[in-house]
Symmetry: C2
Subunit: 345 residues, 2 copies
Amino acid sequence: PKIVTLPGDGIGPEVTAAAVAVLREVAPDVTIEEHLIGGVAYDTHGDPFPQVTRDALGDADAVLLGTVGGAQDSAWNLLPRHLRPESGLLALRKALGCYANLRPVRVQPGLEHLSPLKAELARGVDILIVRELLGGVYFDGDRKIDGDTAYNTMRYTTPEVERVARVAFWAAEQRKGRVTSVDKANVLEVSELWRRDVTALRDREYRGVHLNHEYVDSVAMLIVSDPSRYDVIVTENLFGDILSDLAAVIPGSLGLMPSASLGDGAGLFEPIHGSAPDIAGKGVANPAAAIMSAGMLLRHGLKRPEGANQIDRAVALALREHPTRDLGGRADTQTFTRAVLSALE
Amino acid sequence: PKIVTLPGDGIGPEVTAAAVAVLREVAPDVTIEEHLIGGVAYDTHGDPFPQVTRDALGDADAVLLGTVGGAQDSAWNLLPRHLRPESGLLALRKALGCYANLRPVRVQPGLEHLSPLKAELARGVDILIVRELLGGVYFDGDRKIDGDTAYNTMRYTTPEVERVARVAFWAAEQRKGRVTSVDKANVLEVSELWRRDVTALRDREYRGVHLNHEYVDSVAMLIVSDPSRYDVIVTENLFGDILSDLAAVIPGSLGLMPSASLGDGAGLFEPIHGSAPDIAGKGVANPAAAIMSAGMLLRHGLKRPEGANQIDRAVALALREHPTRDLGGRADTQTFTRAVLSALE
Ligand SMILES: CC(C)[C@H](C(=O)O)[C@@H](O)C(=O)O
Ligand SMILES: CC(C)[C@H](C(=O)O)[C@@H](O)C(=O)O
């Protein structure tokens, strides 16, 4: 199988290198091809998602991404929007047709102390957030900034809602069988459609799954103060962006949150943390999320669950013995990566 | 001075009665007139914001609101959108011209243990969230659900951004002098306008205030894992809705979050919690947020800071001695309210 890696900007190259080292160990038969995305791609090709990268995806079985973007005051942020690093990432998601972004939130036994939450709240948390990734306010064409007015449009259609809801129901069937759909139906028409279509699909095809609906503001509070009430959460793009970053509070760091984006073709696997320009190049970034994303790549992209489990176990061990700085420990990227490699059985 | 109370639905009447009892004690000269809003107003007048309520606001100096809305499966939710309880609340906010919603998040000394966060993180937190309340996706006319498509529009204009940013800068000047403006400018044009206009206003008129910009997903995580980094947060309507509910995690309950909505005329004061239909009528709701909202009414609405301080001190004392059920204690609404009344000096 062929994997394309897109290390990107900031700490992206460091954490991707760590993930690749682990991947080579667990899946030595895999071919790895590296390409540019984001700010570095703009700097080299004048395009954050250049044609050469796009072409390389054609025969890829999976894509492993680092991070894109610069600091708030980066020169990239002065470019026209379509040339900025983040636009490269959005174009990549679109090109791959990855509409369902899976963001697992799990607190490993023995790692409750890493959470800012009281240990009894963090213990045993196991939530899967399914974020719609190709619709809503992120992609709708009707958007403008002009003089003293600006707007974006939050739009969904029934097929868009159904295809991502299917992924959530399917995942729930492998888990505890419960889906919480998150919206703001007390205010938004687009949420009314979302709620109606998710409900209809459950009634039609997934009667064994328990479905409830909650408002996004309420979930933002409850996911942190009572996380064990959730099994699978499904929501639209912007709410999913906010809730999944927020959920990183539970395990204790964005550095512990991998993701898998699935859809029509090759899957996209990326840590959910940003490019952390303040620590880029210093060799101290926590590569756990990137390594766990490589695990999700094995599980969902190459259908090799044993390899994925191997990685998850090794990461949990390494976190216990060599916590990185974001977790209050002292391990740097290399130390942590070596610990993972030597914990692989 | 004349105050209009709008107890509303669910636990609204119970917590409003508690707040009124405290208000009568601290400001015996105030005239109080009660009217209907929300679901009960629809049930009585066929309109969640009836004309008789609207008329009563004309000469009011401030409005004290309870809560509106029913359970997710309430019959009210089957009404056309403009007749639902929440639409009554939105129409009320609009009618009063309350564009700046102040939501203080404070952990009182000695009450850190109520937080699900580790005590060292919760200690001393004092954040003011300023939420834009009359714009964005909540109010823009361009919205529709039609067959298998639905959309809402997130729109802002420069004057809308400036008037709420002014409130945030003004508040920061009374506090630690720092404003964090929250947006999603890496994706949204409407956030680009927001960021540009907030920055320009600071540069023009509030050079003494330190301003920084952060993305909403990042703030969602940081406000819980590192709350002491924030002083004043200013953001648009939907982000403010989510972040302020979320911030309730820090003190430990939505039941501890009051709010003040200020603007062109009389201010609107309301607890940020919902109508909690599951416990309505049982006499166990925590009235602290409603009572503290009455405190904010005295401070911002009637310019009586001594009265406000009196209430804040009494609530803190009562919380220490008689925590309500949402806080893991056993006090019911009446016990708690009596404790506040007897703690007033
Ligand atoms: C960088 C940005 C465009 C992106 C998003 O909002 O989707 C990021 O926050 C994420 O969650 O992957
Ligand atoms: C009830 C609802 C319309 C309201 C809002 O979203 O503004 C509530 O959540 C709040 O925060 O006051």
